[in-house]
Symmetry: D2
Subunit: 424 residues, 4 copies
């Protein structure tokens, strides 16, 4: 059989093609001459499998979508604290090309967030300068690594935008005036414009996004590119500032941290689940792709992807029929799913309520898919408490999901491979 | 044994008591005379179990925290569309007592969101008016129902605020001027001030929040109070507008949809997981409780609660050792965890890759904790595809987790209680 | 013969009647039902003679024009300093119904000027409260005194505006919140609305304005109503803030300190020269009478009335043929026009250049129309200097235009009635 | 004798030297190193006589004072209409280095006025470009012509400002973005910065201003440099926009159209009377010279110079003792002073009231210093009306102050040189 995902994506485009309206970006001649019929969608899973449909080989300039990835790069290189000194994380409530400086901190005036132009130009200026190449080249190499292929600059777009980058140059000089930029704004703005002119396809975009979906590890190679903290920071600003002038509306209706670009692309990330990219050049009055928004909304609805849907997976950690007394003095709790605070709390509460009188309690962790730090600590704390009540405790943990199993009171529970190993 | 959660909460307060700084709210004499040493925290689990520590019986006026619950009430009563015509969902980027009208929609000027005063007063005005009581009384009854006990107005706070509600009266008349309020603003503002004067404890707050944690169903009674859509809307505005002037910063650092009040309370909700409430009267310059923020941050870190942490629970739907050929022509896939898009995609991809040649494929759903709509549809679609490849398909589903199991092609797979039922 | 001024005014209306466009004020039903064909103009000379044409007996509510006169009243009662603490004098650059608070002075937030509603309401609140009547009654009595007849409130307009004064009530509560208003804003706003509902004709308006034209003295009675300083202050704010949103444009094109009202009136004052009033109910989008502006522009052009035209009258203080040696040792300078700094400087320069060798110098002041303080001081200083050079000096001053003629060096020049009195 | 004006100016500086406070401009190193003790004042009369005191030979860069003169130059070259399409005349209510664009006219976004940097840069860009020199050179030549000597650029100031002109470059690119600037903003801003670096003394400034005082004619040469309309426009924007952030306050207290510069100069013009310039480098927080303001206020008070003082010179056109019946059928009205609307109205009213029965009426104009257009028209209209009543009318007008004396009804009154010429 074949997985139905490609069919689903193709259906999505077919049903959407009807969506009319919107205008091509007109402030750059090259964008104004884009083919308005182009339409593409792509999706990456957590483990980096890519699905796509439509004009998925069509290249377009990445434009503002680049802001999210350059922000990630710079945080990784300089540390979050240094970047936060230069650019804030607050929604601006203004158009993307307003300078929107945050002046609440008298020590340091700074752009409100990295998703508006003033913030993105500042972020670009923070890229450590290589000796023989410009910052845009550093960006291109980074994006290429994420995309898994050599990306190139669209020279026509670059030169066209450079000639008319008056607004960005105005912003650049204003940033220089406040010493937010620390060197020649013309050079920085030109390099920033070049960053925006990197050509991508929707497949490139989802390949790039897979590192955000997968908590910083590029699934294709297994290499950690971004720290957990960096990923969370990037997703945060995509949540509140990614879609211009309509952060609240987008979060309410689509609920996916996102970023759009003026060439017609939109990306969306649901951490731990999927990354989405769409492309269609006609824009609404805010500069977002009309059909792109339509498709993203549809996917959010269809796939139940919404940041605030809740995390229902954690509802069950243990079923009653999974508590089994296998021997007179041994009771086994077969746990399943994930072990986070919510599940650990429920497990320990069950133990508290049931007041087992069996001497030995065994936790079977072989069906646990994931344990986070608080889950691990609570389980070990529970073991100490059970021992204080007079119980012995052991684990079945064939995959060493609790690697360094030692409690605060220095007790190390016995660990078995499976039920059969438990001695009589 | 006893669950360690109470000890954890007590520790949290002990470690925080050192946090100095902040000032009592001074614009109302009654708030200015609050006891600054009071400190309390409470937590509700998804199933409505309450933990608390510190001054958890101390009553204080609910103030702006009421905004979230009244918003929920009004959406439920009038429908989201009617409420959205009156109040938007965008971050305001301004202080809570700025009127912050959104004028982008020329048809209808409206407050930017329901978490600022102008929006909350408008929301209050939408409460259907009972014949013999004021709107504040409707609110009090609703809050009491959520809290599980009879809440009361703090008459001193109410009268004190009413006398000095100049700013809110100014806002009220301005809203009346734009016809956002449709009747006497003095009456509405007074009733709104009364809403803010309802007394609660942190335990009341988490009881009230359990309905938001649990997707609209009050866990204590099992009654559905709010629709799924209402809960999502409330959580959305709490995410982007709950903490004044610092939405982005809060989301980056704490990552929990929240709401604070000027009497010193803060609530935070992670849907499907926990609800948190803290209380400490001293405020920072934005009007948020200083120690409250400190404790919320600590809990977010300790418990791994962050909206953008990702949903790692879904990583495993099927282990290799859970695929078992139990008979020459029958293979069983034992699934576990939740079945959403991500997991369904992975399952169907596995089937595609493995190209089973066994005639009959059985999906064992007895360890699945939850299936959402897209998971169900993808599974059924996969079944049709497997049948098109010549397979027979059956389910083990003792708890009828796929209730109406019929595919688009009208095939109804056989359903067994357990493995033993499968005939040779 | 008859003076041509009435014919001129009648012509003006005839030629203007063609001016179309504009809308009746619609925010109050009573104003919306005004007769749009009404058209009137009136003019007062410096000495209080009134000319008028058109519907000059038609009464209309004074509305915002009242702001200028109440401001004058309050400065006169409380002193400029106390009023300046509450209301500034800066152009607001915003609509008249914006609150436009000036926050540059951290000590005292205050409305930017008295010509916007927030400023005018604050000014109204400063009227000393009489025991048995409201502030509006104090205003009515003051306006009646200026107008020379008993003015009355338009009760329908008053009640209609009071019912819909939401915007002003909003402003009032905001002013109360900042303690700019110091008592109940509802009472103040209602009284302010009543002030705006005083009925006047264009003839009443120019009668009222004659006190501003004539430097504070009511020409009809000769009574000093306002100090010189008060008049200058009122004219200053009329210059920069009288015509909403278009102060610069108005000053450039019309050049007359002015104030308009929403019922369709406009007044204009050129100090020392004329006062003008026009009435026509249809308004442009800024709230100024369309035909009123047209007529004011025409009058400014026709009559050469422009604040920045310069003061050409002073060009000649002395003609060469007016210096006459009447006796061998006596030379007479016949001066004419006014004697201010400019003229005095020119006279003294002439004396310096000419180095008269005649013993006695006589200044004939009988053709001088006016001497201001600096002119007087410079003339007396010049007399001392001439005496130091060895001259004797005398004055011909039949009307005692230099009342207390004594120099710094205690010299008192002889004063003659006419040339004939000069002894040989 | 010597005129007391130089002594007065010297006294003024002596009394002011005590004024402390203020800071040197610090944004350019060259300005920060200015000698803070320098103090100078100069004055020009209507006919171009210059008085000065203090460091009146000390050169400083003209800075923003140049804005007024360049504005005059550009209006003269292009016509007011073309300039108004690019730059407005409204007060900005914002700091001088805010861009302050006026967006009320959707057709053309433009800087609010020519006295803020964005407006001044735009005005500079309108200077017609000479083939072989930059716009700043055109300005330098124009300023030199007005000053009556060859002015030079301060190269150090120019280069220093050019290096740090980030704010102006930001403004320049923003203006370019809106197509308000139509060519390379870097070139325009550099040339504008050079304009600001022209060195002047206070004597140069008053020489330059004499053309504004004298209605466009340079008194030194008698050459008309600016039209009447241009002068009025420049004075208008100096009135409302010349002193940053404090237009209303300045107009109320000093009442002289003015412009200040960051190097410490302030100029003030009272049309038809005087031009003033002061220099002292220490600035208040708005960027105005502290001692400069002090001296300007003092001069305004001492000399009775205030735009809104009224024009008292016109009070007398005819004295009762100047109406003389010289023959049985001939009455002579000896007029004096100026003949504008106010005086003409009074003369005609007198004639109306007196109902002369003498056949012939003679107006003696030999003591009239000036007749404006409306005065002339009203006098001729009065003559027609007197003739309609049966009178004959003649003029004594030795200087042909009424050049083309013919009434609307084609009557040409007889004109005599003096009384003696009148036949019996």
């Amino acid at each position: 059989m074949n997985t139905p995902v490609p069919d689903y994506l193709a259906d999505l485009l077919r049903n959407c093609k009807a969506a009319h309206g919107g205008e091509l970006a007109d402030y750059i001649p090259e964008l104004a001459s884009a083919d308005p019929t182009k339409l593409a969608v792509a999706l990456t899973t957590l483990d980096g499998v890519i699905y796509s449909a439509g004009d998925d080989e069509h290249e377009f300039s990445i434009q503002s979508i680049s802001k999210a990835f350059t922000y990630a790069y710079v945080i990784e290189e300089l540390g979050l604290q240094r970047v936060m000194r230069k650019v804030g994380v607050e929604p601006s409530g203004e158009a993307f090309n307003e300078i929107s400086l945050d002046k609440t901190d008298e020590q340091q005036i700074k752009p409100k967030n990295p998703m508006i132009n003033s913030g993105a130009i500042t972020v670009h200026s923070l890229i450590p300068k290589a000796e023989k190449s410009c910052r845009a080249e550093t960006v291109r190499l980074f994006f290429s690594k994420l995309a898994g292929r050599e990306l190139a600059f669209d020279q026509e777009i670059f030169h066209s935008e450079k000639e008319t980058a008056f607004r960005n140059l105005s912003i650049g000089y204003s940033l220089r005036n406040f010493n937010i930029l620390e060197s020649d704004p013309v050079e920085i703005v030109e390099s920033y414009v070049k960053q925006c002119a990197i050509n991508v396809t929707v497949k490139d975009l989802v390949n790039m996004m897979s590192v955000l979906v997968n908590d910083g590890i590029l699934p294709r190679t297994g290499e950690r590119i971004l720290s957990h903290k960096t990923v969370r920071q990037v997703l945060t600003v995509m949540t509140t500032c990614g879609m211009y002038n309509a952060a609240g509306d987008w979060l309410a209706n689509v609920g996916i941290p996102a970023k759009s670009g003026v060439s017609g692309g939109i990306i969306g990330v649901l951490p731990g689940q999927v990354g989405l990219a769409v492309f269609s050049p006609k824009l609404d009055r805010y500069g977002n792709s009309v059909r792109g928004i339509d498709i993203m909304q549809q996917m959010s609805r269809d796939m139940g992807l919404h940041l605030l849907e809740g995390v229902p997976s954690s509802r069950v950690i243990i079923n009653d029929h999974d508590v089994k007394q296998i021997k007179p003095e041994v009771i086994v709790y077969k746990l399943q799913g994930v072990l986070q605070f919510t599940e650990a709390e429920r497990l320990l509460r069950k133990l508290q309520d049931e007041k087992q009188c069996n001497h030995t309690i065994v936790f079977d962790l072989s069906h646990i898919s994931l344990v986070n730090d608080v889950g691990r600590r609570m389980l070990l704390d529970g073991i100490d408490r059970l021992r204080a009540d007079g119980h012995d405790v052991a684990l079945i943990d064939p995959e060493h999901i609790i690697p360094d199993a030692k409690t605060d009171r220095d007790f190390e529970p016995k660990i078995y491979e499976d039920l059969e190993q438990i001695p009589d």
